[in-house]
């Protein structure tokens, strides 16, 4: 049984619990929507797994998302072809990640401090660019908008994108040299260095990857929503970390799970949506959200303890 068994079970329990009371909740339409709503912060959570496994963190993700989306939309305003604008948005996100990486390495500071600064820098610059206005692409005739809003077998583009990103990043995390390096450094940075693993380069690459994922989420957002306003993204940081951590990636470094982060993102969306489906009073909904998070992590933990026990038993026999 893989490590993710616990979170998967927690997700299933939550979905069924809401579904029993409100069968509508289990409609394909709603479940698909649930996934597509997790996509933006979910993709960021996937990148966060790499950073947490490395023993680092990026606090600037939400504003990197926002700034990249703003750049994408602004380029469209300037008449750049939306496909090219989107590519630039992704590249721009990566460049902001590179800035984080270079400053982390050059100043020899932990990324939490550097990104604490760049989080305001990105937000501030984005604000200067938007002048507090929502940026709306003027011409929606490009195939970019058709594609990002398309559905295949009733499932929207972003869902495919999210799942595809998760598969690719899962392979990168577990099957590539880069993923190996990330986990090796997070396990024991000193030993990794003495094994000849290039620590700084790996750190920079991980922060660039994180940035590119923010840019990807931002550019897609512009395609799907055809607008970006100066606030969107600000709240992504905490949800993305929550998704990664609920999914089973420890903050102490050395390991992580991309699949877990995906499930973690779905759990958060399920809670959000479930609270509404169950008609929880607005005043109680925050409390219910917190209580259900605790319940979910407790289920996860209980199941993993259970599994480890039976595993040991099997070993002994």
């Amino acid at each position: 049984m893989p490590d993710e068994i616990g979170v998967v079970a927690a997700l299933v329990v939550l979905v069924l619990a809401v579904g029993v009371v409100q069968p509508n909740f289990l409609s394909a339409n709603n479940l698909i929507q649930l996934v597509s709503n997790s996509a933006y912060f979910g993709v960021i959570a996937l990148g966060m797994v790499f950073l947490l496994a490395l023993g680092e963190i990026d606090l600037s993700v939400g504003w990197n998302f926002n700034f990249s989306a703003v750049l994408t939309a602004e380029l469209m305003l300037f008449g750049v072809d939306p496909w090219i604008a989107a590519a630039c948005g992704i590249g721009f996100g990566a460049a902001l990640g590179l800035l984080n990486g270079v400053m982390t390495v050059a100043l020899g500071l932990p990324s939490i401090i550097v990104t604490l600064g760049t989080l305001s820098v990105f937000q501030g610059l984005s604000l200067v660019v938007t002048k507090s206005r929502a940026i709306i692409p003027p011409d929606l005739s490009s195939s970019f908008f058709a594609v990002t809003n398309s559905r295949l077998f009733g499932i929207p583009f972003v869902v495919y994108g999210f799942v595809f990103a998760a598969i690719v990043l899962h392979l990168v995390f577990h099957k590539s040299r880069f993923g190996y390096r990330v986990q090796a450094i997070g396990s024991n940075a000193e030993a990794a260095k003495l094994a000849g693993i290039p620590i700084n380069r790996t750190r920079v690459v991980a922060l660039v990857l994180m940035g590119a994922l923010c840019g990807l989420a931002g550019a897609t957002f512009v395609g799907v929503r055809q607008a970006i306003d100066p606030t969107t993204g600000g709240e992504f940081l905490l949800v993305a970390i929550a998704a990664a951590v609920i999914g089973g990636t420890p903050v102490t470094g050395g390991m992580g799970t991309i699949v877990g982060a995906l499930i973690g993102a779905l759990i958060i969306s399920t809670i959000r949506s479930g609270v509404i489906f169950l008609g929880v009073d607005a005043r109680w909904s925050t409390f219910v959200t917190g209580a259900v998070i605790l319940l979910a992590v407790a289920i996860d933990k209980a199941l993993r303890v259970q599994r480890d026990r039976s595993r040991n038993r099997n070993r002994e026999n």
Binding site: F25, S132, A134, T231, G234
Partner: protein, 332 residues
């Protein structure tokens, strides 16, 4: 006399609503020949807002205009008033601040909002009307919700009013929340969001999901007006943001020039608009405009200033002192 400097602090500066308030303040400062210091925290954060206000006072501004974002600002703002710096509040009110307030009348306005929605749906309409707001922890939104629900019940006795739901402020969370509500209530006849982002989320959902509920919501931002223009949303409520920026500066400068150390507490009703494709009535003796003109005005600072200029220079608003009401009237 020393140059008058007005510190004008909004509770954030992240949307066009705040920008239009700033526009009013800037216009007033130019009209009156005073210096304006505009500032705001990065996001809604009363403590950061207070730090900004206090820094402005310490740097020697002559007066402060700021919203009473939270009740915990009351004591420090009163301390500033006691220290001899006049204060005017706008947008968000606390009756305990010894200062005037410029803004809309919350409960009556939103009751009217609810009534208009119910009327539009038809006197004998049946079905679910969903009411959402962006945050359960702002008292003013609770008043808006109370007003809206009261209006809906009064004018539409056959309607089932559900909510208020916490549909969040950020574009992504707001969209997701309405998406879930739409699925959970497939028979709803109207969706009302009492905060700015709702109209945009709801319009997008309505188009992509093939719904045909009636949409109405708060704030006449360019995006919201675009949705009304496209016919997906029916009504956007506006609350004369320009005046909420203009009047506080005017009142402060008036008091300072007449040698007062504080401004008497009072309430100036900034009025409001219920904007639909065929109605954009303005309060006071402001020129009533068509929807098309309203959009043009909303998109141009010059036209906005010009729109208010006549009344401010020669009309009803020139004699603004006679329009002041007791502070208690604000929520009656």
């Amino acid at each position: 006399e020393d140059k008058i400097v007005i510190g004008f602090v909004t509770h954030h500066h992240l949307d066009q609503f705040q920008e239009r308030i700033w526009q009013g303040a800037r216009t007033a400062a130019a009209d009156l020949g005073v210096e304006l210091k505009l500032a705001a925290p990065d996001n809604v954060d009363p403590e950061a807002q207070l730090a900004i206000v206090q820094s402005l006072v310490n740097s020697g501004v002559s007066g402060i205009a700021t919203p009473a974002t939270s009740e915990s600002l009351v004591a420090p703002l009163n301390a500033i008033i006691d220290g001899g710096t006049p204060v005017v509040t706008f947008l968000l009110n606390s009756p305990n601040i010894r200062a005037p307030f410029v803004g809309e009348r919350t409960f009556p306005t939103w009751k009217e909002f609810g009534k208009r929605v119910a009327t539009k749906l038809g006197a004998d309409a049946k079905g679910e009307v969903l009411v959402g707001y962006c945050s359960a922890d702002l008292e003013i939104l609770a008043h808006r919700a109370d007003g809206t629900i009261a209006g809906l019940k009064e004018a539409g006795p056959g309607l089932t009013v559900l909510g208020p739901f916490d549909v969040k402020l950020s574009a992504t969370e707001n969209y997701a929340a309405w998406e879930a509500l739409a699925l959970a209530h497939p028979n709803a006849v109207a969706m009302l969001d009492l905060c700015a982002p709702g109209i945009v989320s709801l319009s997008k959902l309505k188009t992509s999901g093939g719904y045909n509920w009636l949409i109405a919501g708060a704030d006449t931002t360019p995006e919201n007006l675009a949705a009304v223009e496209a016919g997906t949303a029916w009504m956007a409520e506006g609350q004369s943001e320009f005046l909420q920026g203009y009047m506080p500066v005017l009142m402060l400068v008036d008091a300072i020039r007449s040698g007062k150390k504080a401004v008497e507490p009072s309430f100036f009703d900034s009025g409001n608009q219920f904007v639909t494709l065929d109605n954009a009535d303005e309060p006071y003796d402001l020129k009533d405009v068509s929807f098309k003109e309203l959009v043009e005005i909303a998109n141009s600072p010059e036209l906005t200033a010009a729109h208010y200029k006549a009344s401010l220079e020669n009309g009803q608003l020139k004699d603004w002192k006679s329009l002041l009401q007791p502070l208690e009237n604000q929520n009656k």
